[in-house]
C-alpha cells in the first residue's frame, strides 16, 4: 500500500517541480493555471513558423539574458503557434492582428484581465523597457 502511494505521488511531485521552471514556455491552458497558482502575469506569445520577425524575436530578443531573466522571474509565458487550430482560435478570441503578438494577462477578482499588448518585433532594449512598464502596471513588479 505504501509503495503504491509513493508510486502515485512521484509523478505528481515531478510535475510540480517541473512546473516551477518559469524559464520555459507553456501551452496556453497550463500557463494560465500556473499564472493563477503563482500570482504571476501571463504573457501570451502568438507566433508563426514562417514569420521572419518571430524568428528574430526567438533568436535574439526573447533569448537575450536580461529579457529572459525578467520573464523567468516575473511572468509565465504561454506559447501559441498560430499554425495550429487552437492557436487560430486563440488569435481570433484575442483579436491579434498577426505575429509576433504579445498579450499580457493578470488574474484579478476571479477573472483574467488584459493589461497590455503589442504587435510586431522589437529591439532588445525596447522590448525590455515595455516589459518592465507592463510588469509594473500589472502590479507584479512592485512600483
Amino acid at each position: 500500500m505504501k509503495a503504491y502511494q509513493v508510486l502515485l505521488t512521484l509523478p505528481l511531485l515531478a510535475m510540480a517541480l517541473a512546473a516551477l521552471d518559469f524559464g520555459r514556455w507553456y501551452p496556453y491552458d497550463a500557463a494560465l493555471s500556473l499564472g493563477q497558482a503563482h500570482g504571476r502575469m501571463v504573457m501570451v506569445y502568438f507566433h508563426s513558423p514562417h514569420c521572419p520577425y518571430c524568428d528574430q524575436m526567438n533568436t535574439f530578443v526573447l533569448s537575450d539574458p536580461q529579457v529572459s531573466r525578467l520573464l523567468e522571474e516575473r511572468f509565465v509565458v504561454a506559447s501559441v503557434g498560430t499554425e495550429t487550430q487552437e492557436g487560430q482560435d486563440l488569435a481570433r478570441r484575442y483579436r491579434v492582428p498577426g505575429t509576433p503578438s504579445f498579450v499580457f494577462l493578470v488574474f484579478r477578482k476571479g477573472t483574467w484581465e488584459e493589461v497590455g499588448r503589442f504587435f510586431g518585433s522589437r529591439s532588445r532594449a525596447q522590448f525590455l523597457q515595455e516589459l518592465r512598464q507592463i510588469c509594473a502596471k500589472g502590479g507584479v513588479c512592485g512600483e
Partner: protein, 150 residues
C-alpha cells in the same frame, strides 16, 4: 511566404532624429556598440579598436536596410595585391557574439561574401590583417527593420 510585412523603423528613426538633432548622428554610425566590439576584438585579435587604421582600400558592402536580420548579405573586397592580405575578419557591433567570420585568402583573391544574422540595427566592421602586420578597418551600418506578419 504568406505575409504582409509592415515597416515602421523609418518613423521611429525620424522621431529619434527630431529629438536628438543632427550633430549627434553625424558622429557615430547607427548601431555602434564599441564596448561590445572591443571585447570581441580583444578575444579574436588581441587588439583594441584604437589599434585599427581606417582604410579606403577596403570596400565593405552591406545593405542600408534589411527586412528582419535573418539573412543579410555581406561582401568585402580589399584593393591590395593577393599575398598582402593575411586575413579578413567581419564583426557586428550589436550581435551577442560580434565575430561573424574569419577568412584566410591564401591563394584566393582578398574577397569574401556571405550572409549573416544581425540581432538588430548594427554597425558592421571589416578588419584586414595585412602580411606586414597592419590592421586596417572599414565600417558600414545596416538598419534591421522591425515589424510583423499579418
Amino acid at each position: 511566404m504568406n505575409r504582409r510585412a509592415f515597416l515602421r523603423t523609418t518613423g521611429v528613426a525620424l522621431g529619434a532624429l527630431a529629438l536628438s538633432g543632427v550633430p549627434a548622428l553625424a558622429q557615430g554610425l547607427e548601431g555602434e556598440d564599441l564596448a561590445n566590439l572591443e571585447k570581441a576584438l580583444k578575444e579574436v585579435l588581441g587588439k583594441s579598436f584604437k589599434d585599427l587604421t581606417p582604410s579606403n582600400l577596403i570596400k565593405l558592402t552591406m545593405p542600408a536596410i534589411a527586412e528582419s536580420g535573418a539573412n543579410v548579405p555581406a561582401e568585402v573586397e580589399v584593393n591590395l595585391p593577393p599575398g598582402q592580405v593575411k586575413a579578413i575578419h567581419l564583426f557586428a557591433d550589436k550581435n551577442p557574439t560580434p565575430y561573424l567570420v574569419g577568412f584566410m585568402p591564401m591563394k584566393a583573391l582578398p574577397y569574401y561574401a556571405t550572409r549573416v544574422r544581425l540581432a538588430e540595427t548594427s554597425a558592421i566592421r571589416a578588419v584586414v590583417e595585412t602580411a606586414d602586420g597592419k590592421l586596417l578597418l572599414a565600417s558600414a551600418s545596416t538598419r534591421v527593420t522591425v515589424g510583423g506578419c499579418g
